[in-house]
Symmetry: C2
Subunit: 226 residues, 2 copies
DNA sequence: CCTGCGTTCTTTGTATACACTGATGGCACG
DNA sequence: CGTGCCATCAGTGTATACAAAGAACGCAGG
């Protein structure tokens, strides 16, 4: 694999998983030493991260990990709602009902997946991801899918602000099942509405749980101040 | 100004204004010679263009100007509709009515701007751009604005496929005026509906006029085949 | 004549040296 | 003691040399 890709992937996951906190300065020389590659691929990786919005060029001098906070949650979900509601509508018009009927079945029974011992809820999240993938495929719109993909990066990042409790996940599965059912029925109005409802619940839950965690996530202003 | 920025700006406008046609191979050495800079800033520019979707990495070997055609028009307008309808809704809820009342007035009288001698319709397009800016400001959502900004690049590019005739511009001005009025009235449902209507007319017009021009825009497959 | 392999060549990927710019700290002057 | 200027320096911006990988072409064998 190319060194620039490795550097990009490493930095990307570091930022998304909060090992690199907002405001952290990403110095080229420091990173090139830490990752064991020269500055050239590092620059390429930083450019990609900046384009993605995970980092920002700092007024000519270096790039820093971009800020993200509860304020951004509202904005993020506004965009998410715009994109996912429309995607759900279009999927209802264009999708193969059989595919979404199957997904509906699985999601309706997703409670079983949550009783397992896996603390990462891998099977559960995979199933939800499959719904997203199916919607994307049914919509068949490159530009819309690209916009959603860009958005999801930030969603993953902000999701780390909260913990997912089983009760919420069970509810979320039901909401997803409702969306899948509406799409299977070819009912775009309901699909859109169900998506709106689901996103509202999700946002409220995130705001509720994140508020408890946030204090400990307030960092020192980027570079060690004694 | 930095060399990488100059290279980026030059290539970007070359692509948007169809001086570089889809499928054109963007070789690093060739570009570095043509633009008089070394390969390093060229690489940076190409990375930015790829992130924007104006160019695409060609399976390991170089990047090419990305394709855009009438098929993409549908997809582009689907995303545009999703974003702009929601933006209009939010602007209706949050915008300063006075601002949009003024814009409504100006747009209602935009017919006067079209009688002028300027063939580029500078004043007209500036007024429309002001509406976009006002909506963006009223929405106040960084992520939504960013998504719209990314989208508009492609819209400008595809717009070059068609010519704008005065009759259509006059109608478009009325449609824009209707949107501005709905926002000024704080009526989000009407603002969204008016946007939907406007985009539908625009798309139909583009498809209608572009069809005539497209044949002459079918290029040889990238590299001269005898 | 077609097919498969090997060589060569073009083009990108990476490393590194150098230039330049903006910041920071100290020193001198008011 | 405060302020402003200058020097030093850290760190990015650019150029270029070298390495590696993929593609195209030609040649040989069937």
């Amino acid at each position: 694999m190319r060194a620039s890709e490795r550097a990009y992937a490493a930095l990307r996951s570091d930022i998304i998983e909060w090992r690199l906190t907002p405001g952290t300065v990403l110095g080229e020389v420091e990173l090139s030493e830490r990752l064991g590659v020269s500055r050239t691929p590092i620059r390429e990786a930083l450019a990609k991260l900046s384009a993605e919005g995970l980092a920002q060029p700092q007024s000519g001098r270096g790039v820093v990990v971009s800020e993200i906070s509860l304020d951004h949650l509202d904005e993020l979900f506004e965009l998410r709602s715009a994109l996912e509601c429309r995607a759900a509508e279009l999927a209802a018009q264009r999708g193969d009902p059989a595919v979404f009927r199957v997904l509906h079945e699985q999601l309706a029974n997703a409670g079983e997946l949550l009783t397992s011992e896996d603390p990462t809820r891998h099977d559960y999240y995979q199933l939800v991801a499959e719904l997203d993938t199916a919607v994307d495929a049914a919509v068949g719109n490159h530009y819309l899918n690209q916009a959603l993909k860009n958005l999801r990066v930030h969603l993953v990042r902000v999701r780390r602000l909260s913990q997912d409790n089983p009760a919420r996940l069970r509810d979320a599965a039901r909401e997803h099942a409702a969306i899948a059912l509406a799409i299977a029925n070819g009912n775009s109005a309901v699909a859109s509405a169900a998506t709106t409802v689901h996103l509202d619940y999700s946002l409220r839950h995130l705001l509720g749980t994140a508020a408890k965690e946030l204090p400990q996530l307030r960092f020192p202003p980027a570079k060690g101040s004694s």
